[in-house]
Amino acid sequence: MPTSLRRIGLVNFGPYRGHQDVRLDGAKPIVVVHGANMSGKTSLFNAIRWALYGTVKDRIGQDIRRKHLVNKEAAKRGDWKMSVTLAMQQNGTEYELTRAIQPRGPGEPSVDSDFDEKIFLQRDGFHVDARPSEINQLLPERIARFFLFDGEQLDEYERLLADKDEQAATIRDSIEDILGVPALSNAIADLRINHREAARRQQNLARKDQAAKVFATIAANLDREIEEIEADIRDLQKQREDLQYRQSQLAERLRLTAAIESEMDRLDLIRAQLTQLDLEQQDLSEERRARLVDAWKDLVVPRLSARLHDVQQSLERNADTARKAAELRTRLRQLTRIREEGNCPVCGSSLDRGNRRWSEEVSSLEAELRAVPDAVGDQAESLQSVRRLTSVRGTGAPEAIRHIERRLLEIRTARADLTLKREEIEERLRDHADDEIARSRREYDEITKEIGVLEETIKARVLEMAEKHAAAAANRQKISKFGGPELERLNREVAAYDQLIAVFQAAISQLRDRLRSTVEHDATTIFRQLTTDKSYRGLRISPTYALTIVDADGDDVPVRAAGAEQIVALSLIGALNKNAVRRGPIVMDTPFGRLDPTHRENILKFVPTMADQVTLLVHAGEVDRGRDLASVRTKIEREYSIVKKSSNESEIVVLE
């Protein structure tokens, strides 16, 4: 059942204001949509999912609220109507699916229930009932992950397949869906109906036979009992299926919860770090305030030192002057005493007191002494200055404050960084209440127990049914023994159905083995085509379809880089699509994000073989239009560019 996407019509979806169309039809397999980060590539991708399944998840798996899907510019103008139309083709039949929402009443809608949702489905131009089952068959949600995939989350497949919980089982089942295993399961169900019909005809005939009549009654009773058990088992299986579905939903939620809890742990850590930084900041600010009380002294100390230097020089000059004056006074006193005594103090001979030289010498010394300034007053003042100037000392505040402010700056930067991270996480955790998570976990545990009980009951009922079947088979032998040739023939028919059912059951097991082997082979071929490391021998598949890289020695490569995860996931998806009984359009969002140029080129060459129709949503960092697309130019039907007109508005334009 090949399905293709012909057109996507958007009205006020995400960044796309008003009506915008993207045509995907054409003879060539590839359509490329170029767009910068945050321009609206993922919104285009989400639009397809929303139209088909009515929900959009963000990259941590939370449902995005309807009001957040509506174009902000349109909403600002009061236009809250939003719709997405997908024109599709399946086996020559044209489908057009439109999902539209609009507010229920006046005013700004807040929660999802404030919107009315309408779904319209046209088949070959005629409106048909848009039942979920009808829409789902266009591209079943169960297998949508193999057609609509986000390059940033490609490793999710491998991780999920490696898990041991219901997630892995769900993906394994969807892989088997895409590979056609249900065709055989349905055949077994049909054979059981035929088996029952033949047995009933045998009983009806036997009732007419006197000898076989008693056994016919036994057979009828056994059949009724078997039917009751079968109905009971079906009912139990349905209950189990419903519970498993609910369990898988809860598992998904809890998986997200694990992510949320991890985010919450991070948030707690960030909050603790912020508190720690706040405390340190408070302490440092307190210390700085204390240091600043006397820091004015440190500011004036250099000026005081300079002034002290001047005063000290002045004091030295004063001391010199005082010394000189003392010397002069001593000399003057000596001369005066010698003249008064009239004798030489060395030889004792008498001196001429009237000698003019004496008078001149004394006069000169007296004049010299008078010229010496009176430094005593200045000196006292200077000494007082020295006391004042040396009484003010630096406190060491500049050095201490330099350290404090350097640390405060570091804290400010760290706080800004942590605050931004905290806000991002808080935004992501918006709407997630702890009690809701606890409730989900309780419900999950209860459901797991219920499933366990149901499985035990089913097992017991299956055993009981096997016993009844054995009894019925033995009874049929008796009927044919006592009845005529027609009863004998009918008995052979019933036995033939029994054998056929066994054959088909064995066939399913063999088909699974073969499919795994085929998928492993094809995934290996693709992997070797995509990888640049040619020393790898290939991939090994597990019963749950998880793939492991095998090195040249045949050993598993336990740790893979993100880029390798992407190559392995693409190999699996390529192999599944190659072997799929359902073929559909592939839409890849950011498919080359983690890949180097050589891997990118390898994948671009491989993409046209993946499906009949591939849409690539890429940014300039992933794919250079001129350089990277040259090798697949002949396979490209059309290229679009998402042009960002403002933070809330983008336009999709055709690239020539």
Binding site: W296, R303, L304, R402
Partner: protein, 124 residues
């Protein structure tokens, strides 16, 4: 020198700046910022003009109990007209205004004030 003041005064603008610094936890008391302004003005060699309209801020006793600031001004501004505390008021006006300017421009780092004061002292 004229007779000593009993009180210390400041302008409305200085009050506004000092209050703001205190409210933001940059200084413990307004008087700390006032003294810092005096220190900065002395280090930078600036002083406000006379005649600025001022109002009472502190008693001299709680501003300069041991007279250290008075002594510093007596030593460094021997020829400046006015009492030591009047000179201190004008120095504070100039210094606090500079701190306020840096604060308004979100450039107030005390480390830079010390560095700036140190450079100015060296150059004079």
């Amino acid at each position: 020198m004229m007779d000593e003041n009993m009180t210390i005064r400041y302008s409305d603008r200085s009050q506004e700046i000092l209050q703001s610094l205190k409210e933001e936890g940059l200084i413990g008391e307004m008087r700390d910022g006032f003294r810092l302004g005096i220190g900065l003005a002395i280090a930078s060699g600036v002083i406000a003009e006379r005649g600025i309209r001022m109002k009472t801020f502190l008693n001299v006793g709680s501003f300069d109990g041991d007279g250290t600031i008075r002594n510093v001004i007596l030593e460094l501004y021997p020829n400046e007209p006015g009492t030591p505390y009047e000179i201190a008021e004008r120095l504070a006006e100039a210094g606090v205004a500079e701190i306020g300017r840096l604060h308004d421009n979100d450039q107030l780092r005390f480390t830079d004030l010390f560095a700036m004061a140190s450079r100015t002292s060296e150059s004079t």
